[in-house]
């Protein structure tokens, strides 16, 4: 239960825009989006553990300086990556390090798991740095600016909203379970009892999305082809830091970037 709660809390942390105007929220959205794209490219194409760690370190420092709320989002990394990373330790063939019953951990396996976790942390930190410091309408507007098709943006938005909405439904369902099983925390039968209910809510909240779209449409969402021309300001100094970072990391990474990212 604690684990699930932590996960929910972290999902909420990504969504909530920090209204205290930090320095980062004053960098314009287009610049932040471009820097995010650079980071994501690096995350995918770097395959040196050291270079990836440096990239993560850079983001951590940025978050420490400007937006500490980002770290709440880290809590949810174990849930999604743990499930893949832990088996990987044992399943990737290679040089054995230790044995665990019939399983053998390999050096290559550990490396694959480490890469996966670091990459996830990089992605989560970078995305959260953007979403926490930028109004979502500005994020959408800058996505339009890079010519992402509207349908795609809409799906992206609804998916995001759907995840958050679903997280809340689980949260309130958990609360109602808790209120009914005080003192019987271990009772697994409650899970069985509520599993179909959660399934129903899943379907219901999915069906709601069409109506949400109606609500957005009725209030003017994406009506005209960018009628209001946005003035694009790129904060080059901010972006330059990321370009420099990219050059350094690619240098450290050495070798071919087009190698498979493993």
């Amino acid at each position: 239960m604690k684990f699930v709660n932590a996960t929910l809390k972290s999902i909420k942390a990504i969504e909530k825009v920090d209204t205290s105007r930090s320095l980062l929220s004053r960098v314009n959205p287009e610049t932040k989006l471009l820097s995010l794209i650079i980071v994501l490219f690096l995350m995918i194409f770097l395959h040196s553990l050291f270079a990836l760690l440096l990239l993560l370190l850079f983001l951590v420092v940025e978050a420490l300086l400007f937006e500490r709320g980002v770290f709440a989002a880290w809590l949810f990394v174990p849930l999604f990556t743990g499930m893949i990373a832990i088996p990987a330790i044992f399943m990737v063939p290679g040089e054995p390090i230790f044995h665990f019953y019939f399983l053998t951990a390999t050096y290559e396996g550990l490396r694959a798991a480490a890469l996966l976790i670091i990459r996830t942390l990089i992605a989560v930190t970078a995305v959260t740095l953007l979403t926490k410091t930028t109004r979502w309408e500005d994020v959408i507007a800058s996505l339009e600016l890079i010519r992402l098709p509207r349908v795609f943006i809409l799906i992206l938005f609804l998916t995001f909203r759907y995840i958050f909405f679903f997280a809340r439904i689980i949260e309130s369902t958990l609360l109602s379970i808790k209120s009914r099983v005080i003192g019987k925390e271990k009772s697994t039968s409650t899970w069985k009892l509520y599993a179909p209910l959660i399934g129903n809510l899943f379907v219901k909240s999915y069906e709601m999305q069409e109506k949400v779209y109606m609500s957005m449409l009725s209030r003017g969402f994406m009506l005209t082809e960018s009628e209001k021309k946005r003035d694009v300001h790129i904060t080059w100094s901010y972006l330059a830091v990321f370009f420099a970072l990219a050059i350094v990391l690619v240098g450290i990474n050495g070798g071919a970037l087009w190698q498979l990212p493993l």
Binding site: E137, F165, M208, S215, M216, S218, G220, F221, L223, T224
Partner: protein
């Protein structure tokens, strides 16, 4: 609109509805759950295009293209039944400011949002997440998101369902004010209770309009009684 029908896939939700709503009318749409009120409301709001028959909204033929017409969207406001559908932004303020930002001019958006929020008494909730509000607060926020851009035609879907007595009073007062301001309104409800402001009543049953007329008839019409609506 004439002979309007609407089907979801192959389920017919609305059959042969013919009617006309004039400026300044306050129309109550009454019927049991599943009668087709929400579907009709979506058509009146120019969000759904009828699958049969034709409808005209503000003199223009309702087509898929018209549903995305800025001028039409400015004139029509919809308060959905479920606030969780209505409110989609990370903060209450963003949600209320959404329509003025998209349909109005940016310069006035902040002011219009604030005015609507103060009117609905939710200004103090501006930085809260819509999900964190109580049901009553959510409902007030939903109404504010629509009042914020001052549409002349407002549609409410089950506005007083799940409301407590105080909420219903407040809503009745708001309706009265809006009526005084000359807004045209359609209010869908399955409760016969508060239809005080009605200038006209439509009764729906299984996708058809079975009564269309003055509100006072509702109270002594034996036919309505026989329909189990009283």
């Amino acid at each position: 609109m004439t002979n309007v029908g609407y089907s979801y896939d192959d389920h017919v939700a609305l059959k042969n509805v013919t009617m006309q709503i004039e400026k300044g009318e306050v129309v109550y749409l009454i019927g049991e759950n599943g009668a087709g009120k929400s579907t009709l409301l979506m058509i009146l709001a120019a969000l759904y295009v009828p699958t049969t028959g034709t409808a005209k909204i503000f003199g223009k033929k309702l087509t898929e293209k018209l549903t995305k017409d800025v001028e039409i969207r400015k004139k029509i406001g919809v308060v959905f039944q479920d606030p969780d559908v209505q409110l989609f932004s990370p903060t209450v303020y963003d949600d209320v400011a959404f329509a003025p930002r998209h349909l109005g001019d940016d310069a006035n958006a902040e002011k219009m949002a604030e005015t609507a929020m103060r009117r609905m008494n939710i200004w103090h909730l501006r930085d809260r997440h819509p999900y964190e509000l109580s049901e009553g607060e959510k409902k007030r926020a939903s109404v504010a998101t629509v009042l914020s851009y001052e549409p002349e035609f407002i549609l409410f879907d089950e506005p007083t369902a799940n409301m407590d007595v105080k909420g219903r009073h407040e809503f009745a007062r708001l309706l009265h004010e809006l009526k005084e301001e000359g807004k045209t309104m359609v209010i869908a409800t399955h409760l016969l209770g508060d239809i005080k402001e009605a200038t006209r009543v439509l009764v729906m049953q299984s996708g058809e309009v079975v009564y269309d007329g003055a509100p006072d008839v509702i109270e002594n019409d034996s036919k309505l009684k026989s329909l189990g609506l009283l």
